[in-house]
Each structure stands twice: as structure tokens, then as C-alpha cells.
């Protein structure tokens, strides 16, 4: 891989995907994926927080001493989350009503912290920003996929309420694929989250195997 950015982007979006490879951020990955739209919104909010905090940590990396780095990272992530929370409440209120309850939970998501520790703290500003952004987008892809599968099986719809999240012009995305009576309620409830996430991890490993790659052990690239 000659270009380091290609590597970072591929790692973040697919090969080292936060959810499907590293199994980090499991709490939002299961709690927020009752529909594709919810997963997508949560993913984007997380990506914004990750990109911003990676940028800040890389900027200050020479001033943060080893002994206090963890509290400083948490401080930075928490500040970014509060910032997103306040800004969304003030200027994207419809979206806030859907996601508001879950935004503060990004602080307790271990994926941003893991990337700060494993990457941003040792990297220059631009690669760190790209890594945070791509890891966040990979997280978005994972959450949207899990949400889509759960939503189709559980309620028979896909991207329901997407117009609330993205604006009225996205009404066309809201599909009903199966009649509501065919919905399997369990997929919307917590067991569905575990089942779908597990199956997705299996799918990713099978795809990687077929591509002839060694299976990477979960957590090999990050901290728990």
C-alpha cells in the first residue's frame, strides 16, 4: 500500500472496521440500530465527534504527557460530545428529538477513545483527522447495515422516518418492503441486536477468508 491515506481509509471503512473487526462500540451498535435511520444518524454524530477529537488530540499530542493522557482524551471527547449535543438541540432540533437521548452516550463509546490512543496520539494532524473521520464513517456503515437488517425483518420497512433526519426531500428513501403484520418483533428488541451483529461479524470474516486474508483477531489493533 503505497499511499498511507488509502491504507487509513480502507482500514477505517472496512478492513479494520470498528464494529465488525474490532468489536468496539457495541453498546450503541446494538441499542441504536432498531432502524436504519437511527443507526445512520447515530453513526454520523459519532463520526463528527471522532474526527474533531482526533484532530484536537493530534494537534496537542506533544503537550499531553503520557501520565495524564487518558483523562485529557476523555475531556476532549466529552467536550466534543457536549458541543454536538448543544448545537444539534439548537439548530437541528427535529434530528435532536430522534437522537438526543443517545448523543451523550458517545462519551462512553470506547471506539473514539481507542482510536485516540492507538492512532491520533502518535500521528500528525491530517492523517489523524482522516483516521477519525473514516473510522467514524465505518462505524456509520456498520450501524446502518445492522439497522437496515433489523428494520426489514422487524418492521418490514427500510429507512422509515428518514425525512425527519435528512429533510423532506429524502421522503423517497422511506420504503415498505413487507406488510407490518409480518414483522418479527424480536429483531427490534435487544436479542435482535445481538443476533444481527453476530451474523454480520461472521459475514465479514467469511468475506475476508474468501479474499485470502488472515483473520485478524478482534482487538488486535486497539484497546478494549
Amino acid at each position: 500500500m503505497s499511499n498511507p491515506y488509502t491504507r487509513i481509509v480502507r482500514d477505517g471503512l472496512w478492513e479494520n472496521n470498528g464494529v465488525f473487526s474490532m468489536l468496539l462500540g457495541m453498546c450503541p451498535a446494538m441499542a441504536m440500530t432498531t432502524s436504519a435511520t437511527n443507526g445512520f444518524g447515530m453513526g454520523l454524530a459519532t463520526a463528527a465527534v471522532m474526527a474533531a477529537s482526533s484532530l484536537l488530540v493530534a494537534t496537542f499530542r506533544n503537550h499531553i504527557s503520557q501520565e495524564v493522557r487518558i483523562p485529557v482524551f476523555i475531556l476532549i471527547v466529552a467536550t466534543m460530545v457536549t458541543l454536538v449535543d448543544l448545537a444539534m438541540n439548537a439548530w437541528m432540533h427535529e434530528l435532536y428529538k430522534v437522537l438526543g437521548l443517545f448523543i451523550p452516550l458517545i462519551v462512553s463509546n470506547c471506539l473514539p477513545l481507542a482510536r485516540l490512543e492507538a492512532f491520533a496520539a502518535k500521528a500528525p494532524v491530517v492523517p489523524a483527522f482522516v483516521d477519525g473521520l473514516c473510522m467514524g464513517l465505518g462505524f456509520t456503515i456498520a450501524l446502518t447495515t445492522i439497522g437496515a437488517v433489523r428494520e426489514i425483518i422487524g418492521s418490514g420497512t427500510l429507512f422509515a422516518d428518514a425525512s425527519l433526519l435528512l429533510g423532506p426531500s429524502f421522503k423517497f428513501m422511506e420504503l415498505r418492503l413487507l406488510p407490518a403484520s409480518m414483522g418479527v418483533l424480536m429483531m427490534i428488541l435487544p436479542p435482535g441486536g445481538f443476533l444481527v451483529t453476530g451474523l454480520m461479524v461472521v459475514c465479514k470474516r467469511l468475506l475476508d477468508l474468501r479474499a485470502g486474508k488472515e483473520i485478524q483477531m478482534a482487538g488486535a489493533h486497539g484497546i478494549a
Partner: protein
Amino acid sequence: MTLPSLRHGLILGAFCLGFGLVLAVIAQVTTDDIAARALEDRQNSLSQVLAGVPFDNNPATDTVLMENADHKEITVYRSRLKGEVTGVAYEIYGSGYAGEIKLMIGVDAAGQVLGVRALAHHETPGLGDKIEEKKGDWILRFTGLSLANPLPERWKVKKDGGEFDQFAGATITPRGVVNAVRGGLEFFAAHKARLTEGS
């Protein structure tokens, strides 16, 4: 002094101070907008539960603080036409399957329900959440009812011998809502004079 822990403490302190300042600025910038959004939300839910009576004031700002039967302070919003109270709206609370269900009820001056809407709840998606207006029209069933219609002993879900349908697979949620609405009407009956007094 070369105490390393002092240096670490200073670094941490500097970061806390810096980011604290950033947060203070952002909070300051967004305060007005957030308050405006909260007011819009309240006006929205008020216009839904007070639909059906004419009024020429702004109910969101015509408020009186009261204590409900559980000694909880609630804000009562009043709609007026030429100074006469035409309807009142306030929050009511039911106990659902997974915690409290917060609803807003509108009652006209004669004690008839104008409308009920769920504001916040934690009921099971796909079962109990049919109390939301966008997920079903069950909640609209209360419009026009009063303590005389149906009679108090019939203000229950069908399973308990009352008038109201429960949902397939969920009885506790509708029971909580029905009880809350009945409680809301009883609150109105108990405080009718104070709630409808002229300005």
C-alpha cells in the same frame, strides 16, 4: 521545583480550563436558540391538544402552577377567547410497562377531553408505542369523552371490565394511559373553579 506530578497536574488543569471555556462559550451561544426550540415544541403539543376550541391568546405563556393529586407541581396552560377560558392543557403521568408515560391532555371548559398526546415514554417498540399518534389512532379515541361518558367505573381497559381497547400483546400500557387520562379529568373536576377563572 521539578515535581513531575505537579507538571502533569498543570497540564491537565490547563486542558480542563481551555475546554471549559470553549464549552461556556458554546453554551452561551446556543442558550437562546435552545429555549426558542423548547417553546416551539410546547406550542406544537399545545395546539394539538387544544385543537377544537377557539382562542385568541398564546396558551404557552398563559400559565398557572398547580399541584396534582400526587403532590407534583404541574404547569397548566390556558386558552382564552376574549378573556374567558375555553380550554386548559396540562401534563399527566401514567405508569407503563417500562416506567413513566408522560402525556399532555387538553380539556375544554365543560370538562370534555379535547385531545391527549404522548410526550415521552419507554414502552416496547412495536407493542406499547401504539399510544403515539404517528403509530396509530388509538390515542385519538379519548377526544370528546368526560367523567360522565363513560361512567367512572367504565374508565378502564376492556380486560378490566371497562370501555377501552387494549392492544394485542400489550395491556399495561393502555391501562396506564387510561388511568392517567381519568386522573387528569378528576384533577380538572377538583379544581374547575380555579382553572377556569377569568383573567
